[in-house]
Amino acid sequence: MILKAKDRSGFRRLADLSSLVLMLPSSIAVGLFFGYLLDKLLGTRPWMLFVFLLLGTASGFYSLLRGLQRYTKDETDDGSSDRP
């Protein structure tokens, strides 16, 4: 029983960390992809790439902040619920 509960919390923490880690690079990658595509279509190289890189980074950072807030809140809640 104890082992199962511990497993769950460990894996949950790992999953939360993985999602936090993925937020920024995935947003940057999506921004770069769209920027590159638009540059090719519109012939505006490299400006769309630059603009979408900034947008991707900003959205990734915003998601990261929100995720971090949720993660730290969960950690605090778990810590306080463990106490007798």
């Binding site: 199962k4 460990g10 920024l24 690079p25 990658a29 950690e75 605090t76």
Partner: protein, 138 residues
């Protein structure tokens, strides 16, 4: 029921192992991508892909340390400091991308491919953890 003292601290050990393993896996994946880029479009593309992987691994280590710092201290001040360092790292990544876009626009795809090694590695580790979790549930 098992005595809590005899229960191995399995998830923590697994989590620590995975977190230590990920940067090395990112670098290994980036080396593979850079070899492919080297064969596909030459030495410079290979080098840019490798550089992207190094930046991604450094970014991962930075985020891990910032999170550890924030969670260990648990104070607003630590949160602010951790975020400040992370913002600086993001600015450095942005600077690297901007310089490549401005001076070597054709190499940005190779750099982004190396940088995206982190996505492949984290997804691979997530799938692996899911399989392990299913095995343990049985």
């Amino acid at each position: 029921m098992m005595d809590p003292a005899t229960v191995p601290n399995l998830p923590d050990a697994y989590e620590t192992k995975v977190l230590k393993r990920i940067p090395l896996e990112i670098l290994a994946c980036a080396v593979l991508i850079s070899l492919a880029a080297l064969a596909w479009s030459g030495l410079w593309a290979g080098l840019f892909a490798l550089w992207g992987g190094v930046v991604a691994a450094a970014g991962f280590l930075g985020l891990e340390r910032s999170l550890k710092h924030i969670l260990d201290r648990g104070k607003k001040d630590a949160l602010r400091r951790g975020l400040l360092f992370y913002v600086l790292r993001i600015l450095l990544i942005l600077l690297a991308f901007s310089l490549i876009i401005l001076f070597y626009p054709r190499r940005v795809v190779a750099f982004a491919a190396g940088f995206s090694a982190i996505l492949a590695v984290v997804l691979f580790e997530a799938a692996r953890a899911l399989i392990l979790l299913r095995q343990w549930k049985r």
